[in-house]
C-alpha cells in the first residue's frame, strides 16, 4: 500500500471507520421487518435448527441423548402453532401459498425465558386455510404465504396430495432422501415406536435395530409406500411402525447414518379400555 491518502491518516481513518461500524452494528438478533409477521424471526431459524438438529442426530450412532433443540432452546422459539388441540410445525415453501378462507385464531406457544430476547410469550394469531388442503393437515398464518404449518403426524412427502403440492409444488419426485448420502446402503426391516412425527419425519425408538442406535429417525420420501388404516395416513406418538428402510451410510464418514423408509406400515397404538 504505497499510495498516499490525501486528507486523513489511514490509521485514524481505520479507527474512525471501526468506531462508526461499532456504533451502527445494531442488536444481536435479526430485527423483524415492518408489515410482516412478528414470527418472521422465529419460524425459519427454528425450522433450520430443527433440520440441523435432525441432521446432527443422524450423524450419531446411539448412546447420545437426543435432545430436542427446537423445544428446549431458550434462544429461539420453535416453529410451531396450536389450533383446535393439534400442534403444527412450520416450514418454508418455495412458492407463495394460496389461501382459502379464515380459520379463526390459533396460538403461538410461549417459549424462552425472555420475550424480546429470542423468547416469546404465548400469542394469538389469525390462521387461514391453504387452498385444497384440509386444515387438519396444514394451515397458514394470515399474511404469511411463505410458511406452511403441517400438523404433527401427517406425511407431506406423499406425492399426488394437496399437502405435497403445497410444500413441493409440481415436483412429484420430492423429497428424495436417497440422493448423495445413500451410496453405501443395505435394506433392513425395523420395528419401532413413534416418539414424534414432525413434517412426516419420524423420531422413533427401535425395538431391535441390531447395530442401529435405539433412538433414531426414519425419513420417508416421495417413493415411500405408506400403509395405514386412515386416509390420509396419520401417525401419533406411541404408534408402532414396521418399516423397510435403506440404511444409508457415508463412505467417508463413519458417523453418518440415515434410515430412509421404502415401505412404512403404521399400527395404531392400542389404548387400554379403562373398563376392561
Amino acid at each position: 500500500m504505497n499510495d498516499e491518502i490525501d486528507t486523513i491518516d489511514p490509521i485514524d481513518l481505520d479507527r474512525e471507520l471501526r468506531e462508526m461500524l461499532l456504533a451502527r452494528e445494531g442488536p444481536e438478533t435479526p430485527q423483524p421487518r415492518v408489515r410482516r409477521s412478528r414470527r418472521w424471526i422465529a419460524v425459519p431459524l427454528a425450522a433450520a435448527i430443527a433440520t440441523a438438529a435432525m441432521a446432527v442426530v443422524v450423524l450419531t450412532q446411539g448412546g447420545r441423548n437426543h435432545h430436542d433443540v427446537t423445544a428446549s432452546s431458550g434462544a429461539q422459539c420453535a416453529a410451531a402453532l396450536e389450533w383446535h388441540g393439534a400442534t403444527y410445525t412450520g416450514t418454508r415453501v418455495p412458492h407463495p401459498l394460496s389461501f382459502d378462507g379464515g380459520l379463526g385464531e390459533g396460538t403461538l406457544p410461549a417459549c424462552g425465558d425472555n420475550p424480546g430476547e429470542g423468547g416469546r410469550a404465548a400469542t394469538r394469531t389469525s390462521l387461514v386455510a391453504v387452498a385444497g388442503v384440509s386444515p387438519e393437515q396444514a394451515v397458514a398464518i394470515a399474511g404469511d404465504s411463505a410458511t406452511l404449518y403441517v400438523a404433527y403426524g401427517y406425511f407431506p412427502q406423499q406425492p399426488g396430495t394437496a399437502l405435497h403440492r403445497a410444500l413441493y409444488g409440481n415436483r412429484p419426485g420430492l423429497p428424495d432422501e436417497r440422493e448423495n448420502d445413500c451410496a453405501n446402503t443395505k435394506l433392513q426391516t425395523v420395528e419401532a415406536t413413534v416418539s414424534t412425527a414432525r413434517l412426516g419425519i419420524l423420531r422413533v425408538k427401535l425395538a431391535d435395530g441390531g447395530d442401529l442406535p435405539r433412538e433414531t429417525f426414519i425419513f420417508p420420501d416421495a417413493r415411500t409406500i405408506i400403509i395405514a388404516d386412515g386416509d390420509p395416513p396419520h401417525v401419533r406418538p406411541g404408534d408402532t411402525v414396521r418399516a423397510d428402510v435403506l440404511v444409508c451410510r457415508h463412505p467417508n464418514d463413519k458417523r453418518f447414518l440415515k434410515l430412509v423408509a421404502t415401505k412404512l406400515a403404521i399400527a395404531k397404538r392400542v389404548i387400554a379400555d379403562a373398563t376392561g
Partner: protein, 173 residues
C-alpha cells in the same frame, strides 16, 4: 474480535460430532457476529439486511454437519454471512436508499457531522469494499483471512481496502 474463538471452537467441535445441545449453544455464540457482520455489509437498518442476516443464520444451522474443521468455524460462519450479505446488497441496490435508512437506526445518539459523512460514504462504497472493510476493521480478520473468506487474492484485499480508504477520506468534510 467479536467472537471468542476458543470457546466457539470447543462448542463447534461438540456440535459437529453430534451434540445437539452444542448446536444451540453454537448458534447463540455465533449469532451476534453473523447478524452484525451481515447487517454492516448490506446496510444497517434495511429490510434486506435483516433478511440476509436471517438467511445467514439459517445457513449456519443447516450446514453445521458439513463443517470439517471446527477450528475454522468463525471464518466459515463469516464466509456464509458475507456471501449472503453480498448477494443481498446486489439484489436490493441498497446504496440508493441507505442514507435515509441508516439515519433511522443511528438515532437517538445523534452522531456528529464527521461520522455521519463517514457513514454515508461507507454506504456508497461498492459492496465488496464494504465487506472487506467490515471483515478487516469490524470483525478483526487479517488481510489473509479476509481474502480466504471472500475467496479473492491477498492483493485484491489490499488494493480494494486502499481504494475504500481513499474514497472515504475524500468524502469527509
Amino acid at each position: 474480535m467479536p467472537v471468542d474463538k476458543t470457546n466457539v471452537t470447543a462448542i463447534a467441535r461438540r456440535a459437529v460430532n453430534g451434540d445437539t445441545n452444542a448446536l444451540a449453544d453454537l448458534l447463540g455464540e455465533l449469532a451476534p457476529f453473523v447478524v452484525r457482520t451481515t447487517r454492516l455489509i448490506v446496510g444497517a437498518g434495511t429490510a434486506a439486511a435483516e433478511d440476509a442476516a436471517q438467511e445467514a443464520l439459517i445457513d449456519v444451522a443447516r450446514r453445521i454437519a458439513t463443517l470439517r474443521d471446527p477450528e475454522a468455524v468463525v471464518s466459515w460462519a463469516a464466509q456464509i454471512a458475507t456471501r449472503r450479505a453480498l448477494r443481498a446488497a446486489r439484489s436490493e441496490r441498497l446504496r440508493r436508499q441507505s442514507d435515509v435508512e441508516v439515519q433511522a437506526v443511528q438515532s437517538p445518539e445523534r452522531v456528529n457531522d464527521h461520522r455521519a459523512a463517514l457513514s454515508a460514504a461507507f454506504d456508497r462504497l461498492p459492496r465488496r469494499q464494504r465487506a472487506i472493510a467490515v471483515l478487516r476493521l469490524y470483525a478483526g480478520f487479517s488481510e489473509r483471512e479476509t481474502a480466504d473468506v471472500l475467496g479473492i487474492t491477498l492483493g485484491a484485499v489490499k488494493s480494494q481496502l486502499h481504494q475504500a480508504r481513499s474514497t472515504l477520506s475524500a468524502a469527509l468534510p
